[in-house]
């Protein structure tokens, strides 16, 4: 059995686990964010091209208006 101090003063392992996992989960999210900091900027083919196409069409439509 782990000592009280190792378990942060909690006598119950499951409470210690919940408390520690909360902090570990936050650290995991930070690491995930850092690793993927620059990823995901490029969308799948067609995304921005489609947007540009839509915008061009919209401008053309506006220009055609009387």
């Amino acid at each position: 059995m782990l000592s009280d101090n190792v378990m942060l003063g909690f006598p119950d392992f499951w409470i210690f686990a919940g408390y520690s996992l909360t902090i570990i989960a936050a650290i995991f999210c930070i690491v995930y964010g850092i690793i993927n900091w620059h990823k995901g900027v490029e969308e799948k083919d067609g995304d921005y091209r489609e947007e540009i196409k839509w915008e061009k069409e919209e401008i053309e439509l506006i220009e055609k208006l009387p």
Binding site: F10, W14, I15, T22, F28, Y32, H38, V41, K44
Partner: protein, 526 residues
């Protein structure tokens, strides 16, 4: 009072300015509903966090942890792991891409367009419109309880006063206004919670000593709590006891998992420009949740040590049984008056942030999901923004009524109710919408209806928390619940969610698939 007025005036001035900024930059429907899909990751993180956490977590769940102890740290863990990482990385990325591909502006609209079903959109909107006010009321009660304790005015006056302030700026700025102010509100609450967390551990003698001191209070746990399975503030409740089922299924799973089906949070993923912004939001949101709900749960439990050291009584005794007053009373008794005023402003901030997002979601549910889709059969009209505002006003009134009629010690339970209902109703069709091309329109309808009605029936006739309060079960059968232990303690979501999943699968296998064209369009960017 001087501090309070000064801080509130400064706070409101900044909030009004940010709302005005949002208002000025809102020119299109997309701006109004989705903030133009160009939100900065830190703004997204702060606003998502402050909408997610709210007074419900700080006052309501803080109070619950003062009563039941550190077992709630499992909820803090799920808040981060499920509410942030799974929500963002597993659901958020595809939600953003699919939302864009389908030009969806609300969460029900995403489901409705993905399954090519006006019913899915209309019914989802109706569920939100009818039940979200219960959750909004829980948040409002949280802030009103604090104002009641601090300024010593009647609860109803506090409730009405705060709702009026909140209403003033929500109706105005659309999601851009909501996001700007939420981010500002998020910063305030982080600072306040950090101070409270550090000072509470310091009052209690440091991290390890505080936990040990709390363990020593096990002997003082009242007999009525021991009977239901309470084994001390630093131990899990007795496995299989009433309290264990309540903590695990309602408090931890109901809220921890139910967050995935929260419409006011899911719509935020569609406000980001690319996955990069989502990736960058994850660490900020996780830190935010850790510093707010994580600290609130720990502080809640430790209030027992602080109250005992000074008054030789537990927190629950100090508030004469009303759990929702524990955190307000603790702050009021143990902190200087200027800080209490700052804390109140911080609470106002998160309450306004969460409430405004909810009212905004209520408004869009009425306008886009119910009015345009269900009533006008998909016909788009230019009056959307006006109907949205009518929906917001309806939401505000419904919230006020629930706020006045709900009983004491209700904040955490009302929150868990809404999270659980949304979880069981929306999670299966939401998950399969993003990941399974084989799910059918009939499968989605059946799953949503099953999840919703099983949850509702379980609440009315089995789950004692609600069935006892509503009284319909007693009226019909003479008993508070139709089933005995442990069923009457098991949260509706635990029963309804697996059924809703199974129904989705089963019905999808036997019904005709969705048109290939819609599937192709939905997954265009994925």
């Amino acid at each position: 009072m001087f501090y309070l007025i000064t801080f509130i005036v400064i706070y409101l001035a900044i909030t009004v300015y940010l709302s005005y900024l949002g208002y000025r930059r809102t020119t299109t429907v997309s701006d109004y509903l989705l903030a133009g899909r160009q939100v900065h990751p830190v703004t997204m993180a702060l606003s998502y966090g402050s909408t997610y956490v709210s007074t419900s977590a700080i006052i309501g769940f803080g109070g619950i942890s003062a009563l039941y102890g550190f077992s709630l740290s499992w909820l803090a863990f799920l808040n981060i792991m499920v509410g942030v990482w799974i929500a963002f990385a597993i659901f958020g990325k595809r939600t953003r891409k699919m939302g864009k591909a389908l030009d969806a502006h609300t969460f029900p609209e995403l489901l409705g367009r993905r399954y090519d079903s006006r019913f899915v959109q209309g019914f989802s909107g109706l569920v939100i419109l009818l039940f979200m006010p219960v959750y909004s009321a829980a948040i409002l009660i949280g802030i009103a309880r604090f104002i009641e304790v601090y300024i010593n005015i009647p609860f109803a006056t506090a409730l009405l006063g705060f709702l009026l302030i909140n209403a003033c700026y929500v109706i105005w700025g659309g999601l851009k206004g909501v996001l700007y102010t939420s981010a500002f509100q998020g910063i305030i609450i982080i600072a306040v919670m950090l101070v409270i967390g550090i000072s509470t551990y310091s009052f209690s003698g440091g991290i390890i000593n505080a936990h040990k001191a709390l363990t020593e209070l096990t002997l003082l746990v009242p007999p009525y709590l021991e009977e239901i399975g309470h084994r001390g503030f630093t131990s899990m409740p007795e496995t299989g006891s009433s309290l264990w089922w309540f903590i695990i299924t309602t408090m931890v799973m109901g809220v921890g998992i139910g967050v995935i089906g929260q419409p006011q949070l899911n719509v935020r993923f569609m406000t980001l420009k690319s996955d990069r912004e989502l990736n960058r939001s994850i660490p900020f949101t996780a830190i935010f949740i850790l510093l707010t709900s994580g600290i609130a749960f720990a502080v809640g439990a430790l209030t027992n040590v602080v109250f005992y050291n000074k008054y030789a009584e537990l927190s629950i005794q100090a508030v004469q049984g009303n759990i929702d007053k524990i955190i307000p009373l603790y702050i009021d008794r143990f902190y200087p008056q200027w800080f209490v005023a700052v804390f109140l402003v911080g609470l106002m901030a998160v309450a306004m942030s969460a409430n405004s997002s909810q009212f905004h979601t209520l408004g869009t549910s009425l306008s886009r999901d119910i009015f345009e889709q269900a009533l006008l059969k998909g016909k788009s009209v230019i009056e959307t923004t006006v109907v949205t505002r009518i929906g917001i006003v309806f939401g505000i009134f419904a919230t006020l009524i629930f706020g006045l009629i709900l009983p004491e010690s209700i904040i955490a339970i009302a929150t868990a109710f809404f999270f659980s209902l949304c979880g069981a109703t929306f999670i299966p069709s939401y998950l399969f919408a993003l990941y399974w091309r084989g799910g059918t329109k009939t499968g989605a309808k059946a799953s949503i209806l099953c999840g919703f009605f099983i949850s509702l029936l379980w609440m009315l006739f089995v789950h004692e928390n609600e069935s006892k309060a509503i009284g319909l079960c007693k009226f019909i059968s003479g008993s508070d619940s139709l089933l005995g232990h442990p069923w009457k303690m098991i949260d509706p979501q635990v029963i309804a969610l697996p059924v809703s999943f199974a129904v989705f699968f089963a019905v999808s296998f036997f019904t005709s698939p969705i048109k290939e064209e819609i599937i192709r369009k939905s997954f265009r960017h994925i």
